[in-house]
Symmetry: C2
Subunit: 315 residues, 2 copies
């Protein structure tokens, strides 16, 4: 294998697979393109939830129980904000805050988000190359029964309660993919892996960047997605609820249909083996694997199996 | 009494007297002008140490043991900054950070520092009117044996170690006093009180604002200073060290000489009673009082005595 492996990733689910991949591929063989559609400015600080989920996973700072943010986190800042009658709907832990404060300071000094992300990664001694999907601002807008909502308002503020009818990515028509992602794709990558992230709000923003679809197709690399739906349920987050509201099958097959025409292979869990034929009929090669990542070992196993599957598709 | 009492204040020492005064004077009878020469931008956040010392004292958030910052403070943010190899020389507590983050956000949204300070005060239910000395940027530069140093670099970074030869207030020639301070002074205040703060770096920035000297003289209000030097020692901070390095008497008399020509009365502690005649010979009326503020009771007592002294001088 001479090229790179490019991973398109959202937050926590993607971060798990990326962590597994980081054990299998050397630093420069892997490039992780993180969704930035969820990013927002809160209390004047730039918060990048998906980038941070990946960085925290790779630096062993993730909280495993809570499922988001940093382990051993404390909340004294939030208490003081509450005492000041400031906004408390979005929780910023004391440790997490250091990430946002330093990134925001760097961005204000003129760094790109790519540079700020690399700076964070370097200081945490992360060897995997993690980049934002774009250095330009893209903001996911959720179209709901109560009108358009900014993503974090929908996701955290309203706890995903309003029924979803669609999505819009503000700024997407002018946002180029991050340059190293484009270079890796143009150079002929070994594989493109779509992490088990929410297809609507984590992966679609990446796929809809200017020129992204074309370069993915032109790359001739095998494109493999890992299902975020297992046994008809989402491992985490609102994807199952969204599929219901959008009128799609809440199943790995529903996810496969979403990616039809783009992906070559699709990894589903053993409990969804009966969907294989239907997936194949979409022109997508299914692969049945233990796809639930409960610990480091299963993350590494799934990463290895995903890469192997991609290499088989390439032949 | 019809006018206001205007207090010129630095950090912790001034905050103690201001707290005492807040028990004696109704909210709108007192206006506290805080030095902003120590303010600086750290990690992209606007830090205003003297304003915060006064606000924390008035909201009962001050730490009494440590002598600065907030009580029950924690330091998880600083640990995370250290892990990120960020700057750790200036300690920002987790609770303190909420103040800086919210103020910085408000300033970026277009609030003046006066408005941001009032907003903080209102949310902490502080009734005393606390304002920055000016809404324009003034930055104290300490001239030392190792060259010019920004104030916080000298004060915190270098722990006041380099010998001082003078001071410079960047931006002072264009900085107008905050408008409500000017209005109070122009309206004929009952008294102007110079808090027991460092005369060089806490009070002189205020006195050197454009037009400040003139309006103080024109106000005909009694101007009373409280000595920050008691028994030849500073209650807190580098004032005694600075006086030595500048070749001045390290005594209440040295402080009185510094304010000669401006103040009408000077409050010294009982242990400095022997300096009374020398102070009087400077054309300044001395007042001997218990001037060490160890607890709330002594703060209120000194505040009452200071106001009484000022009213006697006015007659």
């Amino acid at each position: 294998m001479n090229g790179k492996t490019v991973v398109l990733s959202g937050g926590v689910g993607g971060a798990k697979l990326v962590l597994g991949l980081s054990y299998v591929l050397e630093g420069d063989a892997l490039i992780v393109a993180c969704n930035t559609g969820d990013d927002f400015d809160h209390l004047g600080l730039r918060v990048c939830p998906d980038i941070d989920s990946v960085l925290y996973a790779l630096s062993n700072l993730s909280d495993q129980q809570r499922g988001w943010g940093r382990k051993d986190e404390s909340w004294a800042f939030m208490s003081a904000v509450e005492h000041l009658q400031g906004p408390t709907w979005f929780k910023l832990g004391d440790g997490d805050l250091a990430t946002h404060v330093m990134r925001t300071d760097w961005l204000r000094q003129g760094m790109t988000l790519t540079e700020a992300t690399s700076e964070l990664a370097a200081r945490w001694r992360i060897k995997t190359y993690v980049v934002p999907m774009s250095d330009e601002l893209v903001r996911t807008i959720v179209q709901t029964e109560v009108g358009e909502l900014e993503f974090q308002d929908y996701f955290v503020g309203q706890q995903c309660a309003p029924a979803v009818s669609g999505f819009r990515f503000d700024g997407i028509e002018k946002a180029l993919p991050q340059v190293d992602i484009m270079n890796a794709l143009n150079a002929g990558p070994d594989a493109v892996i779509i992490a088990p992230s929410n297809p609507y709000v984590s992966i679609d923003p990446i796929l809809n960047l200017v020129g992204m679809h074309d370069v993915l197709k032109a790359s001739r690399a095998p494109i493999v997605a890992v299902s975020p739906i297992i046994g008809g349920q989402a491992i985490k987050g609102p994807v199952a609820k969204m599929m219901t509201e959008l009128g799609h099958d809440v199943s790995a097959l529903g996810i496969a249909r979403h990616y039809q025409g783009l992906i070559d292979g699709f990894i589903i869990d053993e409990c969804d083996a009966d969907l294989s034929a239907d997936i194949q009929s979409l022109g997508i090669e299914p692969k049945v694997l233990p796809a639930i990542m409960t610990d480091l070992e299963s993350r590494i196993s799934l990463a290895q199996a995903t890469l192997l599957f991609a290499s088989e598709l390439k032949l």
